[in-house]
Amino acid sequence: MKKLINDPGAVLDEALAGIAAAHRDLKVDGENKVIARAGGTKVGKVALISGGGSGHEPLHGGFVGLGMLDAACPGEVFTSPVPGQMLAAAQAVDGGAGVLFIVKNYTGDVLNFQMAAELAAEEDITVETVLVDDDVAVQDSTWTAGRRGTGATVLVEKIAGAVAEQGADLAAVAEMAKRVNAASRSFAVALTACTTPSSGKPGFDLPEDEIEVGVGIHGEPGRSREKLRPAKEIVATALDAILADQPLAAGDETIVMVNGLGGTPLIELYVVFHEVATALADKGIVIARNLVGNYVTSLDMAGVSLTVCKADADMLSLWDAPVNTPALRWGS
């Protein structure tokens, strides 16, 4: 294993120290492992908290700031955070208008956030929880832990964050978060496996000419193992899976994210985006907004995920609202 770390057990603490040193707009509570806005939450604003295992940076800490999250709770690498973290975060950022937990649908995250919500309720903090479960690679969700939460998390956090910033109440913020999740689908393909610091070995073996189609962001297996093929065909596979699950019509407006899984050069992501844009244009589907880059990574995994959100006018205008976080920044 080759990593720029000191000690596999210290990665999270040291990365948090680095985040604290790098970003003045963030306040890092190293004890409770909470990343929050330095300025705190405006009284009366609904606070958004997300979290999950580390190793997906910039998710979630990189999305803390004006117009997006109020706090993030990073767990150990690929391990859900513990309820105490979310409770500490909720206590730190509750502005009196309640807290929205944005939770990616993994058993560990769901259970820990659920316990945190119970603890918060005991402290008289009102909590609503929204599950993100956009990964269409997971079929038969009655026979599994359900669809995994992946790329749509960024869209949910951005759009719900914007509506919260505008002063919406907790129910309305939760409602918008659910709408964005319901409108979003993702699908990922891995070219290589990722290696966690603590295991030191790639999570799975992938021969030099094969790809994992439908991979999860912790290296969970996908629908199938297939031969490496051109970007155009990989994009077709991902788009087919997404559109089979949520058909889109000509004229529909979308927000599209082409997301690198951590080890993929940006130039390849642009090649992929070109294919996505071409394929959607052929169907008359409009890419109204887009993100191309590393947003929800899987450590050093080479590969790409595609997220398509069928966006209505509200979502688009909330998308355009100012955001000022380490990883997403626009407007003013």
Binding site: T107, N112, M115
Partner: protein, 207 residues
């Protein structure tokens, strides 16, 4: 079971987890995300520390503390599940000593907690597939009037059998469920740690 025995049991689990950490992680790397050993080790190290200067009057207090510490230190799916289970077991052990039947009831409360939280059924390839047979064996021994040590050994044996029986199962809960049929042929990490927990109990009371 008394307070000291509860402490010794938790110490024994911590030692077993430390010893089998890499094995648990390896099992989790085949059908999960390669952190179960690390998670359990983090949790039981924290528990060891938490219990060191914790004054308890009942075995229940020890186990509730154990559960709370697991919840606040493990993360992942296993943290709340084991944490909730130990808390439930502990809450059912309010007297300074308990007999075999009372302990069987406590173990049943622990399993109920896991099932309530995780909504898994036997056969879903989870810790339940070791826990449920272990509980059944313990109960049977208790009902038959066996002593604590004999019941604990029966439970440990049953847990290990249940653990091995997870290998041919297809996972339907937790991260392994994403593998679908590809999860078949691998032993469940959580069932394996559950077997360690029951073996630790048997060794503790047998010693």
């Amino acid at each position: 079971m008394d307070t000291d025995l509860a402490r010794t049991w938790v110490q024994a689990i911590a030692a077993a987890v430390e010893k089998h950490k890499d094995h648990l992680t390896q099992l989790d790397s085949a059908i999960g995300d390669a952190d179960h050993g690390v998670n359990m080790h983090r949790g039981f190290s924290a528990t060891r520390m938490a219990l060191a200067d914790y004054k308890a009057e009942t075995p229940g207090a020890v186990l509730v503390k154990t559960g709370s510490t697991l919840i606040s230190s493990v993360g992942g799916a296993s943290g709340p599940l084991y944490g909730g289970a130990f808390r439930a077991i502990g809450k059912a052990l309010e007297t300074p000593t308990t007999d075999t039947r009372q302990f069987a009831a406590a173990l049943a409360a622990g399993l109920a907690s896991v099932q309530k939280l995780g909504a898994a059924a036997p056969g879903d390839k989870t810790m339940i597939d070791a826990y449920a047979p272990a509980l059944a064996a313990f109960q049977q021994q208790a009902d038959a009037g066996a002593d604590f040590a004999a019941a604990a050994v029966a439970a440990a044996d049953a847990a290990e059998e249940g653990m091995r029986a997870t290998t041919p199962m297809q996972a339907r809960k937790g991260r392994a469920s994403y593998l679908g049929a590809r999860s078949i042929g691998h032993q469940d990490p959580g069932a394996t740690s559950t077997a360690l927990i029951f073996r630790a109990l048997a060794e503790t009371v047998g010693a």
